[in-house]
Amino acid sequence: MSKPAGVSHEYYSSEYKGWTLRRLAVAGSLVALVIFCWRFAEIRPTSLVDPAGVVSVGNFIRNMFPPDISLQFLRVVAVAAGQTLAIAVASTSLSVGLGLLLGFLGTPILWERGVMLAGEPPGIRRLVQSTISRLARAVLGFFRAVPDLLWALLFVVAVGLGPLAGTLALSVSYAGVLGRVYAHLFEDVDPSAIEALHASGATRIQVFLRAIWPQAASTVTAYTLYSFECCLRAASVLGFIGAGGIGYEINVSMRLFEYGQVLTLLLTLIAMVAVTDSVSRTLRRRLQPNAGRDGPRTFFSSNGMQRRYISGKQIGVSAIVLAIGLSFYFTGLLNGTLADSGAIARMGRFAARMFPPNFEVEFLRSLVLPLIQTIAIAVMGTLIGIIIAAVLALPATSTIILNDGDAAGKHSWINRTTRRIVYTLTRLLLNGLRSVPELVWVLVCILAVGLGPFAGTLAIGLHTGGVLGKLYAETLEEVPVRPIEAMRAIGGRPLQVLVWAIWPQARPTLVSYTVLRWETNLRVSTILGLIGGGGLGQIIYNSVQLGFYSNLATLILLVYILVITTDWISHRLHGQSGALSSTISKLIIQNYMSWRKGQAYSRP
């Protein structure tokens, strides 16, 4: 090939500088961070092969079989599962109500700026409106930033043991999550409809109902369904700190060494989550535009035309109302437990005793080490999770591991069957890692490596590995297929295709998922100590047990600051301040609303 003139000489040295000072500094500080976190999370790989630990994990696994399916115990399981479901339904419906209200108040386009307010003169009225709006967002931020298990602990102290505490905790926590997402979705609608209605003299409520809601409804519903799934998972572990449901039974059976019962409970839990997943996937599919011949169907549609011919919808709505009513009853929201004057008064007294928070230097100093430990657990846990996910994601990606039946060349059936088996086993393994909640993993890891931060780190790592592995595999599967075909046509091997065609396209999504997971893990690591996983949780637990509520207030504040700082850092890392959480919720919505899986590779 003839040598080109001009351009080619300067570009090479400018494009590929090699190890610049900047790159060295970044790499060096990453290594330092990992070493630092390694120390503080007290990672001891040798303790994994410690004979005592191996024996006790072996015992645990051996004693899990056979699972306990005596009629007596199954009755206990059924009650616990019902309670968990009731907590999830009740708290989701409460959080939707609260989230809609705060989300409506927190939508800037209605109260602070944009087409609605362009014509209004500045004045005290506008100031009040925008202050209320900001306040609503701040409340949502606080609700969201405090981890759900911490809320549960607070409500257990305030209203006593049982499902009521769990329901209230999840309502508050998920109201924060949902409200923020709702506000984002309301803000994202096409503003021209708002402008048109506003110009014709509509009130804010009218603008909301007629211009914003119709545009946002299907996404809002999809996200709400997704959040119900998350809520169910959360409800199943609240019992670990006494807030009712199936988690309580798992904890009890674990402490009584009744591992057969543990297996029954875990299988029930996995089945519940799987059923909810598939039901909600079916519902979301119907929400997708152009899904059926009847076009989009929404549950909250205000369109009377649709109602007439979907009679099944009325049945659905009645069923939902009935389910919500029943769940309110079973969680104690209706049958007098909450209305009982004692509960409200106790909540008030508890809140009053938290003030003023304890800001003594001595106490604050004692928090430094656990705080660093908490961060270290989250970092190392996420790192372990990334490693597990990276290893397992490739064999779990159908488009990489399975032969394309339509591709040219000969395929031996042994090769095909082996690949199919590897794929299925990896998927099963990922589902297993993912379905077992972190707190259950903590108990198992404590058996293996003893109490302390390493158990917490391992637990986070195992669960995160399952979650990220599945997300990674799905992302890799959904990458646009054309460049892949081109690389294969050039004669690339599967791994070369991965490096040059799949990875560059999937990278942004993979990074977003990982950052999102790291934020989640930080929240989890603050509460692992409640059951012996190290970090701040241990001190939180002690403060509650000893009744030092002013210390507790300081700790909550600390967790809040920690979480919002992390949010801020990950926004900065993404280089688009403030936009990350909305990007991620969009990503989740897209991911959960799409059922293109398998179609991405289908031939024309």
Binding site: S8, A408, G409, P483, A486, L495
Partner: protein
């Protein structure tokens, strides 16, 4: 002989039952041949291309590349075969988030070891980078080497995918509608680039076109597809006006199904014989 196709058919399973894309296609291609595949859209040109570059498996019939049956190749041999075939896709098939330079470097993939592949994502070798730049220069994109593929216009993407094939330096160049997104001036220069390249380096060139004028102007041999079968396979001088008109008439008048069932069957029947003719040539 580069390609020998005998009675090749491709059937896609769909929800509404199997749909035949091409059926009973037979022809041969010899080394250094320059050939146009002509036909209206939906005639099966793209499917035939994917069969030719071995990314798709034929439902029946046999396809041999350089004397070896594609069906009997192992994965390694198949990759070796694909390395010798460069495809310029109609939809370009570039990696959107990589730069022009990186997309061009992808042409080397078939030659690289795994280690070198990974190394090259960080820092390609100087020689390869320069070769890629030269290819970009040839298609007039040297100043865009840093632009991401999705920032380029349709015509620029088209030229970029040609640059990728230049780097691959294959024995056979398959180009699916390479002039579809180019303006007349560029069409001229890219066409002469492809043709002189094939001539100078003694490569085989197969191009699909829907534009008959273009086919007649540039290519000595013309194979026409209609409704998944071969309508005619002639040299440029033999092609008659009636044959060309007949190719498109079914498509435009929408009465193809009637006209077709009577008319093209002799042509398809003839294609078996024409294979022998070509090979004998």
């Amino acid at each position: 002989m580069i390609y020998r196709l005998q009675d090749v058919s491709k059937v896609y399973p769909t929800r509404h039952g199997p749909v035949s894309s091409i059926s009973g296609v037979s022809f041969c291609v010899v080394e250094r041949e320059q050939m146009a595949l002509l036909g209206p859209s939906g005639a099966g040109k793209t499917t035939l291309f994917r069969l030719l570059n071995a990314t798709l498996l034929a439902t029946s019939g046999s396809l041999a590349f350089a004397g070896e049956d594609v069906l009997k190749m192992s994965a390694r041999e198949l990759r070796g075969m694909r390395r010798r075939i460069g495809t310029i896709y109609q939809q370009h098939h570039l990696v959107p988030s990589l730069t022009s330079l990186e997309n061009t470097l992808c042409g080397n993939l078939g030659r690289w070891s795994l280690l070198h592949t990974i190394r090259s994502t960080f820092r390609p070798s100087k020689q390869e980078a320069e070769q890629a730049m030269a290819a970009l220069e040839m298609v007039g994109l040297a100043d865009k080497y840093r632009a991401r593929a999705d920032e380029l216009s349709g015509g620029q993407q088209q030229r970029l995918s040609i640059a990728r094939v230049l780097v691959q330096d294959p024995d056979v160049i398959l180009a699916d509608e390479p002039f579809a997104s180019l303006d007349p001036a560029l069409t001229e220069s890219i066409a002469s680039l492809l043709l002189t390249l094939a001539q100078d380096r003694k490569r085989t060139l197969i191009v699909t076109l829907h534009d008959r004028e273009m086919a007649l102007r540039y290519f000595p041999r013309i194979v026409a597809l209609r409704e998944g079968g071969i309508a005619f396979d002639m040299s440029r001088d033999e092609v008659t006006r009636e044959a060309l008109e007949g190719l498109y008439v079914a498509n435009t008048t929408q009465q193809g199904s009637v006209a077709c069932e009577v008319d093209p069957s002799p042509a398809i029947g003839k294609s078996g014989a024409s294979c022998e003719q070509t090979c004998g040539r």
